[in-house]
């Protein structure tokens, strides 16, 4: 789980840096909304990853001996990350398809 952190932060910068580029001049289209929602979601998923890291660290350091809490935090982080990656892949695919559309 710990090695996901750099990816998450790079994703975050990519996502925030991507929004103006993807945003058409007319603000508030469906696609830009979706991308913005994904950007908000990244921070939530990042919070969950950090919570799961913290609970693993607490368990290993002996501050907490409730292994079920660790299981819960890690399962949530894992699932939310998978949701994020699935939605992101779909969005990027949609973007690519739009860009490759012959005019």
């Amino acid at each position: 789980m710990i090695e996901f952190d750099p990816n998450i932060s790079s994703l975050l910068t990519n996502a925030t840096g991507m929004t103006p580029r993807v945003n058409p001049p007319v603000s508030g289209t469906d696609f830009s909304k979706a991308v913005k929602a994904l950007g908000d979601c990244v921070s939530k998923v990042d919070n969950m990853q950090q919570a799961s890291d913290a609970s693993v660290e607490d368990l290993l350091a002996g501050r907490n001996n409730d292994i079920t809490a660790v299981v819960s935090a890690v399962a949530k982080a894992d699932m939310s990350f998978k949701v994020l990656v699935g939605v992101r892949n779909k969005l990027i695919e949609a973007y690519k398809q739009t860009m490759n559309m012959p005019l």
């Binding site: 979601c41 939530k44 079920t68 819960s72 399962a75 998978k82 949701v83 892949n89 779909k90």
Partner: protein, 134 residues
């Protein structure tokens, strides 16, 4: 998009795992003290029982409400040589019955496994749903 909304089953099954682990702790205390003639105030150990309670209204997790003493009569063991024996040669022993505790242990470990299985199955379900995105 609220990712937290999909975690109900995770929280519920984890609460079940936690509660049954606590129950197992109580059962192991009962088994460890099955022959403890002195549990503090000169009285034999009394077996403990776990009371579960739901965490909230409707579909919710479980939590251990309290751990109560079983006040059923203590066992009487005929042991005239024991210094703690009374006038008729009987010693009071804890009201722990090992077969009963073994059954409770089985129930607790099966319940724990069932909750873990739900957690795993739910993770697979979410993954199946995400497969549909591809």
């Amino acid at each position: 998009m609220s990712v937290e909304k999909v975690f109900g089953p995770v929280d519920i099954s984890v609460s079940g795992m936690r509660a049954h682990a606590r129950n197992m702790e109580v059962i192991s205390s009962n088994i460890a003290n099955a022959r403890t003639a002195d549990a503090g105030q000169g009285q034999p150990y009394r077996r403990l029982e776990t009371i579960f309670r739901t965490q909230g209204e409707g579909a919710s997790g479980v939590t251990v409400d309290e751990v109560v003493q079983d006040n059923s009569p203590l066992q009487r063991l005929y042991d005239p040589g024991n210094p703690k024996a009374d006038a008729s040669g009987y010693v009071s022993m804890p009201n722990v019955h090992l077969p009963v505790e073994m059954m409770n242990l089985n129930i607790a470990s099966r319940a724990y496994q069932a909750n873990a299985a739900i957690l795993r199955r739910y993770q697979r379900m979410v993954e199946t749903t995400l497969e549909l995105l591809r």
